[in-house]
Subunit: 521 residues, 2 copies
């Protein structure tokens, strides 16, 4: 039998550590890794036509599988192309393991065209970065990298692998290492939170992360039932399990004119895994911090602590163990609320989607302005999982769906996708077709960066003139999303009236495999 | 009259410093810059649907205009999305000025979703990075940034502009600053190069940068005529002006099995603006340095020096002032050399393109494996300008064409584009349609990352197994480039036989505006 090389050691180590999927666009420096995958046939390798699809897919996979996928990226530029969705994953605190090929160690000093400071590019979006120096180190470095990625609550680990470390022989593999778990809840913080809740006139729990997942929201419901507090999630969250049969968590609106008044009613905020609420952007003469002045802000648990455990202790401290959480009833619209020939508007769109969401669907939401009323409208829909684009880097929606569909092949994935952001990573459609992923893309074509019209006003700039209007408009030329999708092998249909919405959505849900519905707004 | 704000100061300063074009995808933090553009109406603003299109276009513009365009990018992720083509521009030593919006200075500490280490992301691809702190500094910082970008031989300057520096008032603008020129040629190096050339058995000049541009290659031709040396350019170059009527510079092949034997004949190499020849990648048991052992390598001028001036001094030192450079004759193929119904192959493709290139065309070359024989085949075509993707980051071809077409509206731009790399920045097609750019895209559809088949062998990895073959193939599903182009407003035609090549190419050249020809290989 041939001796292993560094790439074999990497593949075996990753597999032993539980890495099952690799999203990739490999190049020359990664060829030995690809050959090692061929020899092992143990890790599913998913090709992306641009790296931001690969990294966004790894984010979606990590959120749904609860463990890291690997990405395999080609030197500094390959990493750079995927950086924006790594940024989103970092803000989600999703687990992700990036393997980035580099030139052979001895070749770097010659500054060939593809040479760049890969560690420098990786560091701003990574929690952990290392360059392996030799083949005997690949195993242990890969084991540490995987442990880092899988550590609580999910981290970005980037391992840079020079070509010669990959192709040189080694007998060593890395034993799986136990990921670092959350820090234990702090009894003093639990006591302080209980006290604050009891003495509050009106309190809210501001919460993200694991408490929003699986059945954990019911814990939040118990606290609400016992104390009368509200429960609010940030605008963007890694994952929320919600809908009928679950406790409904309110979401903080994106627009400050809505979020500041919402929070104004509270004299007490309990933070659980979330920092205090701040604006997505700063605006002249508006605060960055959104809680009212003098609000008593008490942290129950930071993201580094066991947030679910802390909620359990808080329930105990409040004597709320027997409290009955309010559970959302199933309540669907009776119809789309419009005549068949009416134009599509946000109201009939909301209704049609709410009626369509199938039991246990995963919804990847990059609906931006179109979707501002979606969150409350889907609260009483069939139970589903919601994934947000967490770092504000547009182009997250379609890739998230690729990863979620691969993590959960038995669940329907729906992408609520705006057109401007969808164009950033349109290449994800091809991977959906190639892997025959069960994804329905609802594409909202308003042919503009509509959000910027409001933002321009928000920052106090002048009324949009010709340059600004031109920068906000996507209608010269119009993008034909049905043609775009078909060119990459995804069947597609265009909807222009309210009456077409429901049949188109239902067909996209009923048919297996990817399908795009372009909704003309 | 209203007082200026920082954004006004930026626009006025840039315009005074000669910046005429801005390639952009702006967001909230850049709204005041957009409003300032509206007030001034002096800088042409070109929208891209993804930032790597904007930065690649700025590269193409910079190479053709000989001065920097600005890019306007939205915080860290917007910069990250454009990083790969900034990397290419840096390797081209093209001038480029990146303006990156950031949160208001006081907002950064709250770590809102879009917060990231923008300087950290910028540094690996920039020669100069600065974050402006207040509105009164915008003018001077913008003037310095523009000077840096325009300094010899072309640099990457990245100016980070917090939203509050943009929206706060100021009365200050930045006076234009004189860019740093090249260092003077070193007489000692000129003397050493002359001596080396005279005593060489067989010498070559290895040259890139300004000597390949405009009429400068004739200087190289004089030296060849006087000394018998060869003249070789690296595989990837910022710009080569070539074709009939010009002196033909040989290009170093990408594949080591060709480049090493080519260089083996020389006992002397004279470096002009280029580092010594090294492999694009390292391969086991092959050298990184491609010149033969014992080769006398003499630097006439580094990229930081006046390379053209150094060649003039060398001509003087050699007494070659009256030498007659060999000038390339116009020699076009008589026909495509195939029957009308024959399949397209590399030979008839080469011929058809050579016959088609119109006088004074700009050719953006990202043809990868398909184009390995293009360079010699087009040596005797009508005079044209050739732009390479210089940093090995694929996805450069279509964006380069956007920038070149905007810099030179009176010249036809041709993109020789492979399919795999073209998918990286397919969004560039939309900007071509929007701006009605006179670009003919010749899209080579081999439905694979064909280069990787050879690379896998080259690095000594196993024969491609099922995983590798899957990672190299783009035929599941096939991408329909005609449909893709049309979906973004670009007319397109598919060619499957040799007989269709010439009519399709001639039509694409004859018709104004963008047009794509998909060539099935």
């Amino acid at each position: 039998m041939n001796r292993m090389n560094g790439a074999d050691s990497l593949v075996v180590t990753l597999k032993l550590a539980g890495v099952d999927v690799c999203f990739t666009n490999p190049g020359t420096s990664e060829m030995h890794f690809v050959a090692a995958l061929d020899r092992s046939e143990r890790i599913r390798c998913v090709l992306a036509l641009q790296e931001n699809v690969a990294t966004g897919a790894a984010d979606g996979y990590g959120r749904m599988a609860g463990k890291p996928a690997a990405t395999l990226l080609h030197l500094g530029p390959g990493l750079a192309n995927g950086l924006a969705n790594i940024h989103n994953a970092k803000k989600a605190r999703a687990p992700m393991l990036n393997i980035v090929g580099d030139h052979a160690t001895y070749h770097v000093k010659f500054n060939a065209p593809l040479t760049s400071d890969i560690e420098g590019i990786a560091r701003p979006v990574s929690d952990w970065v290392k360059t392996t120096q030799k083949s005997d180190d690949v195993g242990i470095d890969a084991a540490v990298a995987t442990r880092e990625a899988a550590s609580w609550p999910g981290r970005i680990a980037t391992l840079i692998l020079p070509a010669d470390a990959s192709w040189s022989p080694t007998d060593l593999i890395g034993d799986p290492l136990i990921p670092e778990g959350p820090a234990k809840p702090d009894p003093a913080k639990v006591e302080a939170a209980a006290k604050a809740l009891k003495s509050a006139k009106k309190a809210a729990i501001f919460v993200t992360g694991m408490p929003l997942q699986d059945d954990n929201p019911l814990l939040l419901g118990k606290i609400k039932a016992a104390t009368g507090c509200d429960v609010i999630a940030p605008t963007a969250n890694r994952r929320i399990d919600r809908g009928a049969g679950r406790f409904n968590v309110i979401r903080l609106p994106y627009v400050l004119d809505h979020s500041i008044p919402m929070l104004a009613q509270y004299d007490t905020l309990i933070l659980v895994g979330a920092p205090e609420p701040v604006g997505f952007f700063a605006y002249p003469n508006k605060p960055s911090q959104l809680a009212p002045e003098g609000c008593n802000i008490v942290e129950l648990a930071s993201h580094a602590e066991n947030t679910v455990g802390a909620l359990e202790l808080l329930i105990e401290a409040l004597g709320a163990g027997d409290a009955e959480p309010e559970v959302t009833p199933l309540a669907l619209p009776d119809d789309v609320g419009a005549m068949a020939g009416d134009p599509v508007d946000l109201d009939n769109l909301c209704r049609a989607i709410a009626m369509t969401i199938p039991e246990n669907a995963i919804i990847c939401d990059e609906s931006i302005t179109t979707g501002r009323h979606f969150y409350p409208a889907f609260a009483t829909a069939r139970p589903h999982t919601l994934l947000h684009v967490t770092g504000g880097a547009i182009g997250g929606g379609l890739p998230l769906a690729v990863g979620a569909a691969i993590a959960c092949p038995d669940r329907k994935v729906i992408v609520l996708q705006s057109d401007g952001s969808g164009m950033y990573t349109n290449q994800a459609l091809w991977t959906m077709a190639r892997e025959d992923l069960d994804v329905a893309v609802f594409l909202f074509s308003n042919r503009s960066y509509k959000i910027l019209v409001g933002e321009m006003k928000g920052v106090g700039a002048a009324e949009p003139g010709p340059v600004a209007r031109d920068m906000f408009s996507l209608d010269r030329p119009e993008i034909e999303w049905t043609g775009l999708a078909r060119s990459m092998g995804v069947e597609a249909q265009r909807v222009t009236t309210a009456g077409e919405l429901l049949p188109a959505f239902e067909r996209a849900i009923a048919e297996p495999g990817p399908r795009l519905v372009e909704i003309m707004l």
